[in-house]
């Protein structure tokens, strides 16, 4: 029989390790922010935060270099809004269908299909978008290049939709049965129940779904890089190439000198991205908690 004291000691070590593992998540978040700051902060010795955020010119390799990220912010914004405009209505509609209307076996198949869509790597989606959607847009709209903000929006919509659909579907399914039964008892048709009662009750969860979908779009890198044309200028329409914050980092890091201003600027963009997604996810999580109560 194992001596009890030895076992107690072993268990004490294991339980401390478990506690540490839990805390590690917090540590990682803090570390990510700190290391971004560490490499990006040197930029702000030579340039003010305002100039960085609102400067209209991103010329990192000119002499002297200009590090204004407004074009990049607007590029991200344009692509994100376009993707949201497409994916939110379609995604919510699909979530309603799957949760409320689809028969059970179809529902399982659809949910699996959506999970598979979510699993497709972004580089593959970017590849397809670049090769099929790009030329199509070029021909249809008669523009010089098919790699535009619109292309980006459509492509990214496909990446946001699975997130929106699955989280919204969870929220709709979680609406208590009593709501539906009460509506039916008052003579409502299934559609009236779904639209007027269930959808309204699931609103916080659906809002969270939309925010998380948008958060995913904002953070997307590879697909965006491959389909939006990579022109770091202030966009004037959907049908011209743009550059997003994420694509800038990925595309230009290889060319930058470690420790130099360009390098720091890219890390500074990372800080901006980190803060944006931190806020979006934080608010979405708040809504999710409100919907679960």
């Amino acid at each position: 029989m194992k001596p009890i004291r030895l076992r107690k000691q072993k268990e004490w070590i294991i339980e401390k390790a478990i506690l540490l593992s839990g805390i590690f998540s917090v540590v990682f978040v803090v570390m990510i922010f700190l290391f971004l700051l560490r490499e990006g902060f040197s930029l702000f010795r030579g340039e003010s935060v305002i100039d960085f955020l609102f400067g209209k010119s991103w010329y990192p390799i000119s002499n002297p270099p200009r590090f204004g990220i407004l074009p990049l912010i607007l590029g991200s914004l344009l692509v994100t809004l376009g993707a949201a405009a497409i994916s939110v209505p379609i995604g919510i509609a699909a979530a309603l269908y799957i949760a409320e209307i689809a028969p059970r076996r179809l529902k399982e198949a659809l949910k699996a299909g959506i999970e598979l869509l979510a699993a497709i790597p972004s580089v593959v989606i970017g590849f397809i978008g670049m090769i099929t959607l790009g030329p199509w847009i070029k021909a249809f709209f008669k523009v010089p290049t098919g790699l535009t903000a619109l292309t980006g929006s459509v492509t990214l919509a496909f990446m946001a939709m699975p997130t929106i659909v699955s989280i919204a579907e969870d929220a709709i399914t979680a609406v208590p049965r009593q709501y539906r039964e009460a509506a039916v008892a008052m003579g409502a048709t299934p559609w009236q129940t779904t639209w007027r009662i269930v959808a309204r009750a699931a609103r916080p969860g659906m809002l969270a779904a939309v925010m998380l979908g948008i958060g995913r779009v904002v953070g997307e890198t590879m697909a965006v890089m491959m389909v939006t044309g990579n022109a770091a200028v202030i966009p004037r329409s959907f049908l011209q190439p743009v550059r997003t914050l994420t694509a800038t980092i990925a595309a230009e890091m290889g060319e930058s000198v470690q420790g130099g201003p360009h390098y720091a600027a890219l890390f500074a963009i990372g800080i901006v991205l980190f803060i944006i997604t931190f806020l979006i996810n934080g608010v979405a999580d708040l809504y999710l908690h409100r919907s679960r109560r």
């Binding site: 029989m1 194992k2 009890i4 076992r7």
Partner: protein, 253 residues
């Protein structure tokens, strides 16, 4: 009257769940080798009391206890390890709760946790405890089959064997027959009467008639307080408190 030794002594014992006072100023003794029954309506604190005797109450996140409970003169909170306490004080729950493993593994679970591994000792413990629980003949040929395949009554007896394997001092029963048919109920009650020679038994029951059948002393709990405690025959014929007689005669429940 032969003076029996005291198994549990409870003094000024209170339990709070957050702000809710579930058990107020409890003072009583439970004597060795007796069947002590606790009766009372729902939310009277019976299960809280039972769970305090083996410190399962600690699992409730917002619970706070004050006062003192001693087992054989030793404080159960400050004088011993909680695992040692729970091995001495076993509990059978209202629903049969076998673990999703084989019959054999269910019975030896507590022993394995103590570190006992020799097959001979485990085999011997299994046969002994299943016999004590009156289940051995029915399952001796299928010890390695899943325990979930047994009937409700058999599962409950398996739960008893599980505790007996560790040779405890006290057996706690929390409404053990509320989910069982009359025949299984009768068998469990018979088993309790036989077991009391070796063990101290504390039985919480919703079934007043069961207390009358089985208990030697009975305590009546109401809304977190113990109203009275005495010999079962006395409580049922001449209770000291009007609330006790109202409950027993069914005026409220």
């Amino acid at each position: 009257m032969v003076e029996q030794s005291v198994k549990f002594s409870v003094r000024s014992f209170h339990v709070h769940y957050g702000h809710y006072n579930a058990l107020r100023d409890l003072n009583l003794d439970i004597r060795a080798n007796e069947i002590f029954t606790v009766i009372g309506p729902a939310n009277s604190g019976k299960t809280t009391f039972l769970n305090s005797l083996n410190r399962l109450i600690d699992l409730v996140p917002a619970s706070r206890c004050s006062g003192e409970i001693k087992l054989d003169g030793i404080d159960i909170r400050h004088g011993m390890e909680v695992e040692a306490l729970r091995r001495k004080v076993g509990i059978v729950f209202a629903l049969p709760l076998p673990l999703p493993i084989s019959i054999f593994e269910n019975v030896v679970y507590g022993l394995r946790m103590q570190g006992i591994r020799e097959q001979r000792r485990l085999d011997e413990a299994v046969e002994r405890s299943l016999t004590e629980a009156y289940l051995w003949e029915e399952v001796k040929d299928r010890l390695s089959t899943p325990a979930m395949n047994l009937s409700g009554g058999q599962q409950q007896r398996l739960c008893m064997a599980r505790i007996l394997a560790g040779q405890p001092d006290v057996l706690l029963f929390d409404e053990p027959t509320s989910g069982l048919d009359p025949i299984s109920t009768a068998r469990i009650e018979e088993t309790m009467l036989i077991l009391k020679d070796k063990y101290t038994i504390v039985l919480v029951t919703n079934n007043v008639a069961q207390a009358a059948r089985v208990g030697e002393r009975t305590a009546f709990f109401l809304m977190g307080e113990m109203i009275e405690v005495s010999e079962t025959s006395k409580i049922f014929t001449t209770p000291a408190d009007k609330r006790t007689s109202d409950y027993i005669t069914g005026k409220f429940g």
